[in-house]
Symmetry: C2
Subunit: 196 residues, 2 copies
Amino acid sequence: MPRTGRRPGNQDTREAILSSARKAFSEKGFDGASIRSIATGAGVDPALVHHYFGTKDQLFTATLELPVDVVKVMTGLAADGLDGFGERLVRTILGVWDSPAGSAAAALVRSAVAHEWTARLMREFLLTQILRRVLGSFDIDPAEAPTRANLVASQMIGLLLMRYIIKLEPLAHMDPEDVARMVGPTIQRYLTEPLK
Amino acid sequence: MPRTGRRPGNQDTREAILSSARKAFSEKGFDGASIRSIATGAGVDPALVHHYFGTKDQLFTATLELPVDVVKVMTGLAADGLDGFGERLVRTILGVWDSPAGSAAAALVRSAVAHEWTARLMREFLLTQILRRVLGSFDIDPAEAPTRANLVASQMIGLLLMRYIIKLEPLAHMDPEDVARMVGPTIQRYLTEPLK
């Protein structure tokens, strides 16, 4: 049912679409939500959704207001192959969180821990944007990929939480290169070694 | 300055002491806070603090309202030696979080992520109650113990966050024995293998 009254200005339209998208993605999941239902929820035409946000993937990433294009970063990391991926992942993610973008990333994690619907968005994002794209490009048994990705995600979010939010010492001020050298092998093991 | 007016009943006294203790531990840290200053803050005699809570360690644990006696659990785990400690730690902690006590534990983590002063209490608790007692009983280079404990804590809190709060699948419903077998070696490596 298109909204009546004043035709929404650009910013209003963007916000209406984003809020409808957040609702749809967190209630129906990434695959379950459609551009059409999101457009209807925002009272606009689907073409306008594409006009503002491009693809469904890009709309989904926009709803999380991520400080950096995580998908681009991750696919770039994966493009260099599985060898040494663990250390590169830790170094790169710490690089983002040590930068001004880090506070927005920390806010997202805080919100995901405090609010069930943000947790759902984060879950969907990890599964559809990271797992499918990044692990999909490695020679990893698809049956084991979800478990391996979960284990990687568990170590990464724990590292970020302890270093930037709980601020446990010495981790909070450790040289990122030392952290990458210590935690990289854990990520590598989760991706490459036998699980059982 | 003792409080005037009605002599505080048992529950009032307990709460007054706990709230004074939370303030002191989060502002001055475990070592910096004294029973005397906590008693003064609660308007009671130091002897009454001991009467209600025993030692400073026990008072500190009480301020966190932990669902189980974590120190007792951890020292029990450590008593069986360093060999296999990683798997035992994962199995035991998942056992607590899978039990009714898990929701109180999740609430504490949520609070630590949302509030700086709870984060400080958790930090102090990890450092003074877990690091000193548990790692102190292993033959670990004291200079490396804080880093090793931080790495262990980063994997454990990430595992708990992803399994119980973000509820990432398949980790959220994986058999605890499988999780212990997959994550135990990470804990073991952080405690025993060369860091650099």
